[in-house]
Symmetry: none
Subunit: 186 residues, 4 copies
Amino acid sequence: MRKLLDAGVSVFETRGYHAARVDDIVKLARTSHGTFYLYFSNKEDLFRALAQEVGDALQALAESLPLVGPDGAGRAALAEWIGSFADLYDEYGPVVRAWTEAEIGTHEFGRLGTEMLTRFTLTFTDRISGSLPDRVNPAIAALALVAMLERMNYYVLSKQVNVSRAKMIDTLAGVMHASLYGTTHA
Amino acid sequence: MRKLLDAGVSVFETRGYHAARVDDIVKLARTSHGTFYLYFSNKEDLFRALAQEVGDALQALAESLPLVGPDGAGRAALAEWIGSFADLYDEYGPVVRAWTEAEIGTHEFGRLGTEMLTRFTLTFTDRISGSLPDRVNPAIAALALVAMLERMNYYVLSKQVNVSRAKMIDTLAGVMHASLYGTTHA
Amino acid sequence: MRKLLDAGVSVFETRGYHAARVDDIVKLARTSHGTFYLYFSNKEDLFRALAQEVGDALQALAESLPLVGPDGAGRAALAEWIGSFADLYDEYGPVVRAWTEAEIGTHEFGRLGTEMLTRFTLTFTDRISGSLPDRVNPAIAALALVAMLERMNYYVLSKQVNVSRAKMIDTLAGVMHASLYGTTHA
Amino acid sequence: MRKLLDAGVSVFETRGYHAARVDDIVKLARTSHGTFYLYFSNKEDLFRALAQEVGDALQALAESLPLVGPDGAGRAALAEWIGSFADLYDEYGPVVRAWTEAEIGTHEFGRLGTEMLTRFTLTFTDRISGSLPDRVNPAIAALALVAMLERMNYYVLSKQVNVSRAKMIDTLAGVMHASLYGTTHA
DNA sequence: TATGAATGAGATTTCATTCAT
DNA sequence: AATGAATGAAATCTCATTCAT
């Protein structure tokens, strides 16, 4: 039930995954405990549904990454794609953060998260592997870039580190492009 | 009391911050509830003490970053420093992860974490700012590199993504060096 | 919920306010802790509700005090009213005693008690002020009589001082009437 | 140990008997838990010692009540004695209040208190019995007057009901004298 | 389908008391 | 005599989950 999922996102945003109570979600959704358990078997179950949505969106995004060339156009395309990532983070930020919180000490979400990361990175690797210098392991470099991408978005968009969205995107594009083609930023 | 702090690290590692019960910590430390509350006013309070330790260690690490030159020696020095970061992550991993878990939805730890990130990044920026191309904002580039560093360590050392520690360090050094001097990796 | 309030009265009676445990109340009411906290936020909260009831009953009683004349009929009417006070004390004794116990060192109940005393005494003063000799401050004399009334009921009805209810009422009526009209007792 | 007894009075004053912790008393007395238990077996025990002091002082006071005559001099002597009672209440107020609090729901203190009340009232009865009209039971009238005396002092000296000490004494003397000799107040 | 009162297991926290020094 | 760290029993309170309506 959409109402409950949306309330879930909202409550996870303000209270975090662990501190979120079924009662909070139910109250925000203006429905009852009984109804909650009609649709979900518990908080974890509702979260799984939200996580699924994020996972799908992320995978679609990974697949939309263009083959990036060494020139300015390639860099611009990369920047645009990073912008899409930021858009996605804007939309699903609370879920992503809750996920990070939930997966620590929770077997299932940890496994799900690792799977998702692996799939995303695999697709990402695929797109950039042609561009990398021979001696570099593309999968690992890709993982590092994904790490930077994810965490920088968290820092800037969730943690209110004082950096503008545009500058964040430009910087990420610069560092990524440099590591792919060895050129200097911008 | 050291015994309780150590037990805290251990319990946060296995159960995560939220699922950790005072009872777990107390049992592991082979002491009593009364003793726990003699030294700390609650779980949060104990965690604060641990966080302080990590913060101090991280700050010391940031200050140990050498001025990195464009040549191979510079790259090697950078790799060595990243290795120290990984060592620190090994030692304090449970606390860092617990922190990540705790700071979401907990104002205080969120603020503390942002402060720590800011200080670390500031020192980091200081060390690399001379090396960056003019048009790049050093603070933001530094933040991106710190994001990569932190998150990659988490992926590899905590999440059991199947990457060797040596390769992680080498890759991180490569990407960082490339973004500083525009050279290709290695 | 009535069941819990009644159990509260009963437990306060046998154990006193401070020694009363939520668990006692819950067990006597044959319900659960959860239910208790559904209706009251703690023991204090339940007590507040009971205190409200006593306060209302006392105020109604004060307002029922007839204008007492100097003759035998006036004295009889006064005695009857004192009888009603004793009835009320019988009914709410446990709460009144618990209040006495609770208000010492508890700001809120102290304040509530003083308010109630003031209102009761004010109404009482109103009823007797016409009867007092000029030089006497009616409010203070009224307060003294209320003090006697309250404490004597406590001595006789709660403390099991060996005095019959009838004699207590007769004596109180005598002293009060004497102080109002300067006649000797009875 | 005097230091502990004094600290006890002080703590009972601010926190009441039940809320008083051994820790509070020990801290205020600038000594240790161990020392407390060296001199008293528990909080109750310390309180018993204080109660003993109050009991002795009260009994001495009762015995100092002069034989009160029907004239102005008798009334003045009565007023002076009531002043002494107020002095005693000033000094031992916290203990008296704590006693009231403690005796509800505590067998031992209730019994002690009733004994003390009985002894005090007996002596009081002795002193006034000659003055009362034949039909009045002196013991009961005395009890009523003692009730008034005690409670009025509590109202005025502890509860901060807005009445001056002088007026309280005058009013009590008036009501008492009136009930003894049937004269009007003052 | 929907409700929400009732439940009770389990976590947190307090504080009187002991005992080795 | 004096200390105060350590204890643990006992109380409070929360919240996920159920179930009769």
